[in-house]
Amino acid sequence: MMPALGVFLFLLPALWQGGTDGGIGTSAGLTYLVGAWLGLILLAGGVARRLHNPIRQRAAQQNTRSPEP
């Protein structure tokens, strides 16, 4: 889900009309992208926090349960 959202948000600027007459300026584009970027980072942080502990636990279980190579 998240990568798809990222692709959508990041590729959206490709459709913007460039030009001199009142299109979206560089500063606005920068603001938009940085905002989207930060949003995704926060989202990923939340997901990672949730996934982090299960991975650790599973790894720990694995190490105690199967000492064989």
């Binding site: 490709a14 460039g18 299109g23 190490n63």
Partner: protein, 894 residues
């Protein structure tokens, strides 16, 4: 600031990094890895993605084309957001398969194919070369900034010289860092640590310059936004195709770049690190790019129009007179360049030495079977040479294409080249139908298209591709123009090259994969890699397997025997200087032990056994296959032995039979010799005695005539006997000449009956014949055949024990052969004697009674052999029955 200060600073910084790396390595060896291997260090080490290009080039790019540079960071962000799908799988595979590089991964996926490994290595080397050149260029340029009197004229005076010194310095640095020791897992704790430190330095440096620009030059964020809106790059003029292309390209590059694979996958100690990196690394990228646009805008404003925007990071503080900040910025750029070059050179040298140098070295060694003890040194030397070679290539590229490209453009060429590995890698990870041949085709096609449309043109039109090729296409074919394949005009060269190379690459990969079949090893590997999560549960950690020497001892005892095993272990313990009987399980000892064991159980088995106990990774498929091969060859060998022993016993049986026959014949021969001498003596005796009587004058004429007749008869009998013997001897020595004529069978039988005198003998033998069946013309030696018939008829007459003896003669034609059966109504021949009747000198009844010498049937058999036929005894015919088979046409003339 003087140039000398700069040099000293660089050297001090390098020394500091070396100390950091050394300390980290030290800690890792002591087992205190928790800090060295934290997810923070992992995330920071990923920043090797941000090279001198980011540091200098992104600003230049922003100054030229606005926000386009951001795409280069958005791609990796997407990939890291998708870590659960792709990166986790890569890390798991790398861990279970002990993957050391991207070439290793792809080679391993396609059945441990070294050919694929070589292709990927070459692509990586060719694709990374421009990137290394880029780092050299940036460092050279930044040095040049300080050496020039005026910041307006940046053209480096002696660029090549500086670049060469930098390249040599970096090579030395990399060798010291990267090849100090060999690790089976290709982990470099020291290097990773040093890179993490460099990551902090470059981030701090760039942010410091950014902060200086925003709050020092401008007056805060709002002012900067105003200035951006009023600058040359205020307008949004991004080419949509290029934006998409760059985003996807950078996403591909973070997976495929050898150095990124090294830090992202190979150096990853824990899958949980990925989770943190998934948000922390995008954050790092965001911070790195946040100040790029302000710096570019201020640079454009402050500095004269001719200034190189690639160097704004240095030149703005320099122009403003902040010496300390300049130095920091310089160190940031220096860090970016060195970290990239070090990791890239390590990754490439691993690939080059593992996939090109070592296979060549091993194949050149004639004694390939015995494991060389100094391979370790060879590997180290080949790594070091590879590092020097890689940097030398980078330098060559730099001096060839010097000044032809802006920094970012070189980086993109490199990205696009390495991205050619993507279809084979992603396809190999998720599609089990992908085959080795398909991967090879895809890689080669993509690589060729990339080289033709992007790489070669980057040297300029004078060097490799002429102006006419660029304008009119290869061989004058306009649809082969490097910037306009198949008539796709007007596209940005990068997007154009990327589109065609990746499309053709993926197409070749898929089509050839569908058309070809994988080898068994490929199937196994594809199953292991594609379904890696089904095969391995959770993380296992990389703890060095603790080898139980006692277990090794027990195993060795089983194989070598107790005394020899103990002697071996004691000797080893003495060598290690340890007290007691058990040595430490050092790698050298394990190797020696394995070699020793392989003498007994085969190398593959020994390797697997020691590996099992030494707790190395689980036995690889390849190991199992090798064990299977050995077992197979042993099986084949034992089968051969079995076959030979069977042959031997068969021969022995035949010999035994022959011996029995010989013994029986010898007995018969002895018996016959006594018989024949008896036979010869009897007529001789009667001839002698009657001739003595004849010398007596007193005999009457009647008596005299009677005695003379007796003498005559006896002489005839002697003659007949001698004739038979002579006949047999002639026949046996193949000296007989056949007199072939066309003769009627019936005539021959008539003649034989007449000659045998059976009709006039007492008791007279009666004949049952069917004359009509006997009207057969035979092309044979009539006299010889008649002789056989006579023999059979007289035998019947002599031996038939019926009161009224009858001989039935039947003739017929079967498959071109004439068959004549002679059957009498006597009691026949006992079964135990049937095998002997055709042998010479054999006679079943007392010879004296019938006056034969036992040679008749032997002679008949010889004659039939000469005539191309045979004579056989037919059992169970109600009497003695002989079958004569003779070809209607005798082919053999001798």
């Amino acid at each position: 600031m003087s140039f000398d200060v700069l040099i000293v600073t660089c050297l001090l910084y390098a020394a500091f990094l070396f100390v950091v790396a050394f300390a980290a390595e030290r800690r890792a060896q002591q087992g205190k890895r928790n800090w060295v291997r934290s997810s923070l260090v992992y995330t920071l080490s990923l920043s090797v993605y941000c090279t001198a290009w980011t540091f200098y080039g992104a600003v230049g790019n922003a100054a030229r084309s606005g926000l386009e540079f951001l795409a280069i960071y958005l791609g990796p962000t997407i990939v890291l957001l998708a870590w659960w799908l792709i990166l986790r799988k890569l890390v798991r595979i790398a861990r279970t398969q002990r993957i050391t590089s991207i070439a290793d991964l792809i080679a391993s996926r396609f059945g441990q194919s070294n050919g694929i490994g070589v292709i990927v290595t070459l692509i990586a080397v060719v694709g990374t070369t421009p990137y290394i050149a880029l780092q050299l260029q940036s460092v050279t340029l930044s040095f040049a900034v300080f050496t020039q009197e005026s910041i307006q004229a940046f053209a480096p005076r002696d660029a090549s010289g500086t670049a060469l010194i930098v390249a040599m310095g970096l090579a030395l640095f990399t060798i010291l860092f990267g090849t100090r020791n060999l690790d089976a897992e290709e982990r470099h704790h020291g290097v990773v640590m040093a890179i993490a430190v460099e990551a902090v330095v470059k981030l701090v440096a760039l942010m410091a310059v950014g902060a200086f620009v925003i709050w020092g030059v401008a007056s805060g964020p709002a002012d900067i936004i105003d200035r951006i809106n009023n600058s040359q790059i205020a307008q949004w003029h991004i080419d949509g195709a290029r934006w998409v292309g760059l985003t996807l390209l950078s996403a591909a590059a973070i997976l495929c770049l050898p150095r990124m694979f090294q830090v992202l996958v190979v150096e990853c100690a824990d899958e949980a690190h990925l989770a943190r990196a998934s948000w922390a690394f995008p954050l790092y990228l965001l911070l790195m790019s946040l100040f790029v646009v302000p710096i570019a805008v201020i640079g454009l404003e402050l500095l004269p129009p001719g200034a190189n925007p690639d160097l704004f990071v240095l030149t703005i503080p320099l122009a403003e007179g902040h010496g300390g900040l300049v130095l920091l910025a310089f160190l940031g750029g220096f860090s970016s360049a060195t970290s990239m070059v070090i990791v890239a050179a390590i990754a490439l040298s691993t690939m080059v030495s593992n996939h090109i140098v070592m296979p060549l070295y091993l194949s050149m060694r004639t004694t390939g079977a015995s494991r060389a003890g100094d391979v370790r040194n060879v590997i180290l030397v080949s790594r070091r040479l590879s590092i020097v070679g890689v940097l030398l290539l980078g330098y060559l590229y730099y001096s060839l294409s010097s000044g032809a490209e802006a920094l970012a453009a070189i980086g993109l060429i490199s990205f696009a080249g390495v991205a050619q590995v993507l279809p084979a890698m992603v396809g190999g990870l998720f599609w089990r139908g992908a085959t080795r041949v398909g991967a090879a085709w895809g890689l080669l096609v993509g690589f060729a298209v990339w080289a033709y449309t992007l790489f070669l043109p980057s040297f300029g039109t004078s060097l490799l591709l002429s102006e006419s090729v660029m304008q009119n296409g290869l061989w004058g074919l306009s649809w082969l123009r490097p910037y306009g394949l198949f008539g796709t005009e007007g596209l940005d060269p990068l997007v154009h090259a990327l589109f065609w190379s990746i499309t053709l690459n993926a197409a070749a990969f898929c089509i050839v994969s569908v058309l070809t079949f994988p080898t068994p090893l490929e199937r196994l590997q594809s199953a292991r890699l594609v379904d890696v999560f089904a095969n391995t549960v959770g993380a296992r950690g990389w703890s060095q397997g603790s080898v139980e020497t006692e277990d090794l001892m027990i195993m060795t005892q089983r194989i070598l025997g107790a005394r020899e095993a103990q002697a071996l272990f004691q000797e080893e313990a003495r060598r290690q200087g340890a007290a007691g009987y058990l040595p430490d399980a050092s790698p050298e000892f394990l190797e020696r032990l394995e070699r020793r064991l392989s003498g007994s159980v085969g190398s593959a088995t020994a390797n697997a056994m020691v590996g099992q106990i030494a707790g190395r990774s689980p036995t690889l498929v390849e190991d199992l296959l090798r064990v299977a091969d050995e077992a197979q060859s042993i099986l084949e060998y034992s089968q051969q032995l079995e076959q030979k022993s069977e042959e031997l016993s068969r021969t022995a049986l035949q010999l035994q039979e022959a011996n029995e026959k010989l013994t029986a014949l010898s007995v018969q021969k002895d018996a016959f010799l006594s018989q024949i001498s008896h036979e010869l003596r009897t007529p001789m005796a009667s001839i002698r005695s009657f001739s003595e009587i004849l010398r007596d004058e007193s005999l009457g004429a009647d008596q005299r005539a009677q005695f003379v007749t007796i003498i005559h008869d006896e002489a005839l009998r002697l003659t007949r006997l001698l004739n038979d013997l002579l006949d047999l001897s002639v026949l046996e020595n193949a000296q007989v000449e056949l007199n072939l004529t066309q003769t009627n069978l019936s005539d021959m039988v008539d003649k034989a009956i007449l000659a045998s005198g059976a009709k006039v003998a007492k008791p007279a033998l009666r004949f049952h014949r069917r004359k009509r069946d006997e009207q057969i013309m035979i092309d044979t030696d009539a006299d010889r055949l008649t002789q056989v018939f006579i023999n059979l008829i007289s035998n019947a007459q002599k031996y038939c024990d019926a009161e009224e003896p009858v001989l039935r003669i039947r003739a017929g034609v079967v498959e071109g052969d004439v068959i004549i059966d002679f059957t009498d109504n006597g009691s026949g021949i006992p079964v135990e004697n049937q095998a002997l009747i055709f042998e010479k000198f054999s006679r079943l009844t007392d010879g004296a009674k019938v006056g034969g010498a036992g040679l008749g049937l032997a002679i008949s058999r010889e004659i039939m052999g000469r005539l191309g036929g045979e004579i056989a005894y037919l059992s169970d015919q109600g009497g003695a029955a002989f079958r004569v088979r003779v070809p209607a046409r005798t082919a053999a003339a001798a």
